[in-house]
């Protein structure tokens, strides 16, 4: 069980989990929940106050260098060497991992090509945009072909194309090489798309750990109906009595209503809309998202709303 205290404050409190080889494991939590501190203990950057981390079966505290030979790391808020070229940055990490010369050249060439950085190999790190720097950092982490990849908020603040490219390549490396991935993220869609299992940490404690679909089932009351009309300016509560009892979020020309029985509610809305002469543009039932799970666990207000709706 890993615990880390900073003075009086427990940043991570008795957290314990296991990640299987070849698994993509998401680590979610609000700001300050202890995600990065946990990741930093796992990569050996900071020492736990108590407990131990085993990486590929090796105790990080006792044999840090041996354990780190198995990992690639893209830390949160990290950067590339601004004065080194793209190529030199990748070579530096390959050399630190003692990748033989011929192999590091072959891998760096392939990775830069895959990350669409081949044409920028001679550019300095300082000349790259944030998205390109993040791609380069991933190249640097992957050039040693690590058994385990640690990604701390890898797509935070990136443009859509860069974020998608990074997600695609991480998924690809997991499928083709069986690389294990430890991903901390705020992006629920990203976790949903990439992760086999996710853990949610809140106030330093592990609040949930399961497959995304299993976690979603925990909040069935967060299923919903989304209705859009050609024109709608009224109060959803006036449409059907069920809507008066449900939690409703207004949308442009429509609304989303949360319910445990979305099918029945959708039918009721359709019937009532027809009776009132409202033209329906779309009406759909939606399963709970990982975001709903996350909010129900990490936000007490949201959790209370969930319970009330379920009741």
């Amino acid at each position: 069980m890993l615990t880390r205290a900073f003075g009086e404050r427990l940043a991570v409190n008795a957290v314990s989990f296991e990640v299987a080889a070849g698994e993509v494991f998401g680590f979610l939590g609000p700001n300050g929940a202890g995600k990065s501190t946990t990741a930093r203990m796992l990569t050996g950057f900071i020492s736990p106050t108590s407990g131990r981390a085993l990486i590929a079966g090796i105790d990080m505290a006792k044999q840090p260098s041996s354990a780190r030979r198995h990992i690639g790391v893209v830390p949160e808020e990290a950067n590339v060497y601004a004065d080194l070229s793209v190529w030199a940055n990748v070579m530096l990490m390959a050399e630190l991992h003692a990748v033989p010369r011929a192999r590091r050249i072959e891998r760096a060439t392939r990775l830069l090509e895959r990350f669409d950085l081949a044409g920028r190999a001679t550019q300095k790190g300082a000349q790259l945009s944030k998205g390109l720097r993040q791609r380069l950092m991933l190249c640097m982490a992957l050039v040693s072909e690590p058994q385990i990849l640690f990604l701390d908020e890898p797509t935070s603040g990136l443009d859509v194309a860069s974020a998608r490219l990074i997600r695609d390549i991480v998924g690809e490396q997991n499928r083709t090489r069986g690389m294990t991935v430890f991903l901390t993220t705020h992006n629920m869609d990203e976790a949903d798309q990439l992760c086999h299992r996710v853990a949610i940490i809140d106030k330093g404690r592990l609040a949930a750990i399961d497959r995304p679909d299993a976690l979603r089932r925990r909040v069935d009351s967060r299923r919903s109906v989304e209705a859009r009309f050609a024109q709608f300016a009224g109060e959803p509560a006036g449409l059907t009595p069920e809507l008066a009892r449900a939690e409703v979020t207004l949308l442009p020309n429509g609304f989303r209503a949360y319910t445990a029985q979305p099918g029945a509610l959708a039918q009721a809305i359709a019937v009532r809309a027809a009776a009132l002469g409202l033209r329906i543009e779309s009406i759909s039932t939606l399963a709970p998202t990982l975001e709903d799970v996350f909010l129900s666990i990490t936000s007490p207000a949201a959790a209370t709303r969930c319970e009330e709706t379920a009741a």
Partner: protein, 249 residues
């Protein structure tokens, strides 16, 4: 590959990275040459001594300034540029990273010290009469000064300016108690009492011997003392860096 060889290799990789990122820059070179030169000129202006008698001092001081100039800034720069965490989480051990920093400082200091050495032997009446003590003085001196620089890099800060202040606070007084310009035997008693606590004293003593001037200590004493300083600075640096590595992130 044994663990020692792996880490030795990692230290060389770190040294190469430091050379490329921090040392091979015109301002760093300029600073390494100009600072000791002006220090020398300031001292020489008040003394009528012939330049050749000051050659060992200027070589020792140039070595001291250049070998310890960049080392204190490397870790704060890495923290500030947010490259530090990835370096620490690489397979290179902390000792290997610090050794890489020391090797880069040693190479830089030794190379730049050749410049005043060449000038002194070509442009003044000074001449090198004993290569071994001179070479030992330059190499061991550079190692100890670079290790001191790495030790001074340990405070938990992202601000290089704060470390620079600490660095100068430690380095500048060492010049005055180390017999750089005045042979130790001619220093006042308090100076002779303080001199053994500075690695620069032993380095200057060896370089002085290389130029054929009188020894204050034996060569063996100088060598052993410098080795002790190198080991001591490295052990302290490793301990201090380990304690502060995650505090300034």
């Amino acid at each position: 590959m044994s663990e020692f060889l792996w880490q030795a290799r990692a230290a060389l990789v770190v040294a190469k990275k430091n050379a490329m990122v921090y040392y091979l820059k015109p301002p760093v070179f300029t600073f390494g040459i100009i600072f000791p030169l002006f220090f020398y000129l300031a001292f020489a202006a008040g003394h009528a001594a012939p330049p050749e008698t000051m050659a060992p001092g200027i070589v020792a001081m140039a070595l001291f300034f250049t070998a310890s100039a960049v080392g204190p800034l490397v870790t704060p720069w890495e923290r500030q540029a947010k490259t530090y965490e990835r370096l620490i989480t690489s397979p290179a051990s902390l000792i290997a990273i610090l050794s890489g920093d020391v090797l880069a400082g040693t190479g830089f200091g030794s190379l730049l010290a050749l410049l005043p050495l060449a000038l002194a032997t070509l442009a003044t009446a000074a001449s090198v009469v004993a290569i071994a003590p001179l070479a030992l003085g330059i190499v061991l001196g550079a190692l100890s000064f670079a290790a001191l620089g790495v030790l001074l890099a340990a405070p938990a800060t992202q601000g290089p300016s704060q470390v620079m202040m600490l660095s100068n606070l430690v380095r500048l007084p060492l010049i005055f108690v180390s017999g750089v310009f005045i042979p130790l035997a001619q220093m006042p008693e308090w100076g002779r009492w303080l001199a053994p606590f500075s690695p620069l004293s032993y380095c200057a003593d060896l370089i002085r011997a290389g130029f054929g001037e009188g020894h204050y200590w034996s060569t063996l004493t100088d060598v052993l003392a410098l080795c002790a300083f190198i080991m001591g600075f490295m052990l302290l640096a490793a301990r201090w860096h380990r304690r502060t590595r995650d505090r300034a992130v």
